[in-house]
């Protein structure tokens, strides 16, 4: 699993990246009450808006940490947004992207680097 400075995680299997928000991000947001995911087929570039996640208090953008085509959106988190808090780095995933440029993944932080990054916040 790789991590972005915007607190998204990426797990790659066979050229497909599963993307979600980190446990740290979910904790900062608090109870998630609404999730908006992109349509399947949408092309995104790294840094583009990918999804929106809302707590009672505020809406936050989720950015695409890597580029690619959305091939699946996780319907259960739309129906049960609290899944994002209960399991942010497993069943609370947001989308699967067919990677356009697998090298982008290598530019992200590994777990140790991300944990070190969290210490600086």
């Amino acid at each position: 699993m790789r991590f972005s400075k915007d607190h998204e995680w990426v797990e790659v299997t066979d050229g497909v990246a599963t993307i979600g928000i980190t446990a740290y991000a979910a904790g900062q947001l608090g109870d998630v009450v609404f999730v908006e995911l992109p349509a399947v087929g949408k092309q995104v570039k790294a840094g583009d808006d990918l999804a929106v996640v809302e707590s009672v208090k505020a809406a936050s953008d989720v950015y695409a940490p890597v580029s690619g085509e959305v091939i699946e959106a996780n319907g259960p988190v739309v129906d049960s947004p609290d899944t994002v808090n209960a399991s942010p780095e497993h069943s609370g995933w947001f989308v699967k992207l067919k990677l356009a440029n697998p090298a982008e993944v290598d530019a992200l932080m590994d777990k140790a680097a991300y944990e070190q990054f969290l210490q600086t916040l």
Partner: protein, 387 residues
């Protein structure tokens, strides 16, 4: 997700919030807890079911004291009320002893400068005094305006160096009366002086969550001991500003600086109840002629409640559209209602679209979502008024 900012002002309870895991944010110049470890959703629901403690010491409690009381209690009340009435649209002369009233501080155009609570003193010897509580963000301007208006006829005594603790929820009476026995006998929108550990305190039965509850004004040195005693009752938990906002939204209560500002009149804000009938008839408050005209139908906008029927919460600034898609208004506060499990909002629309049942839309991130005007409050008030 966090920004380095200038350290804000503290309250006598700041250390207690940090010790409880409060996430501190800048609010109206103060560092205040937006939430504790439980988070906004749980804190909100706990307050509706049990009892929430809120530090509202950033607000502006004050006393307006007649400089030269005559000693005649009724004459002194009438005199101090007459000094403040020209600035507000409420009936202050008609207050009973120990009664609180929600009123509005107005500018010359009848726009709302602040919303505030005013109470008439209880005892004979204090009848030349009114108790005020104004909003945090506006308190310096409010106090300057009031002090200038009353001149040397009265003195405005700020009490915001102490602590103001709000205790709200269906179990608030049980929690507070175990410590302050006078609490049980108070009716909603009344207050009384009381003694706590040999200190004089002011206990008001009021609040801004839609629940029964109290606001307790204590000297700074009593703040931590009282907060600690209240928390020791397992029914009470600390609640941050995040849940305070979602609670007042569900209760249909406007928030100054968001739902109310100096361009908005009391009638536009649907706060007709706060405009005294006597004073409307006499047209003796700022913007009275405007209020008379608005009540006669010359109204361009009205604050309404909206149930958002699909999609994301519509937050402050979201446009409101009519059936044809034309933009007809704007959301002034909105979010997710924990009690209803659905998004709700309040905003301003033309009066022809302000009736419950009118189908409207809210525009969130460029997409139209169905919404409907509904009668506020969104969640019924549960104030306890004694006979």
């Amino acid at each position: 997700m966090s920004a380095a900012t200038e350290p804000g002002k503290t309250t006598p309870l700041t250390g207690a919030h940090v010790a409880l895991g409060g996430r501190m944010v800048a609010f109206a110049g103060y560092d205040m807890p937006v939430q504790y470890a439980d988070g906004v959703l749980k804190e909100h629901l706990w307050t509706r079911a049990h009892c929430g403690l809120f530090d509202v010491s950033h607000m502006g409690p004050a006393f307006l004291q007649l400089a030269r009381p005559s000693g005649d209690p009724d004459a002194d009340h009438a005199a101090v009320a007459a000094l403040l009435e020209p600035l507000v649209c409420g009936d202050l002369k008609g207050l009973k002893r120990g009664q609180l009233r929600y009123t509005l501080l107005l500018n010359a155009e009848g726009g709302i400068l602040d919303d505030l609570m005013v109470g008439r003193a209880v005892t004979d010897e204090r009848q030349g005094m009114l108790q005020l509580v104004v909003n945090a963000g506006t308190k310096d301007a409010d106090f300057a305006l009031i002090a200038a208006a009353v001149g040397d006829a009265a003195e405005l005594i700020r009490a915001d160096e102490g602590a103001l603790i709000a205790v709200q929820g269906p179990e608030a009476e049980a929690v507070v009366s175990a410590i302050i026995p006078e609490a049980a006998g108070l009716s909603f929108m009344t207050f009384t002086p009381a003694l706590l550990d040999d200190h004089r305190i002011t206990l008001s039965r009021c609040g801004y969550t839609g629940e029964d509850g109290y606001e307790i004004l204590v000297p700074a040195e009593l703040a931590v001991p009282l907060w600690t005693r209240l928390l020791a009752d397992g029914r009470a938990r600390p609640i941050g500003l995040g849940a305070r906002d979602s609670l007042r939204l569900e209760a249909g209560l406007p928030l100054y600086g968001h739902d109310l500002d100096e361009t908005v009149s009391p009638i536009e804000a649907a706060l007709d109840f706060a405009v005294s009938k006597r004073r409307l008839k006499a047209e003796d408050f700022p913007g009275a002629a405007r209020a008379v005209g608005e009540l006669a139908g010359r109204l361009t906008r009205r604050r309404v409640g909206l149930r958002v029927l699909e999609g994301a919460p519509a937050r402050e600034g979201a446009e409101i559209a009519d059936g044809s898609g034309a933009v007809v208004g704007v959301v002034t506060s909105g979010g997710f209602s924990p009690s209803l499990g659905a998004p709700i909002a309040m905003g301003y629309v033309p009066p022809t679209l302000a009736e419950p049942g009118v189908a409207l839309g809210v525009i969130v991130r460029g997409k139209r979502q169905a919404a409907e005007v509904i009668q506020m409050p969104f969640v019924p008030h549960r104030y306890r008024r004694k006979a």
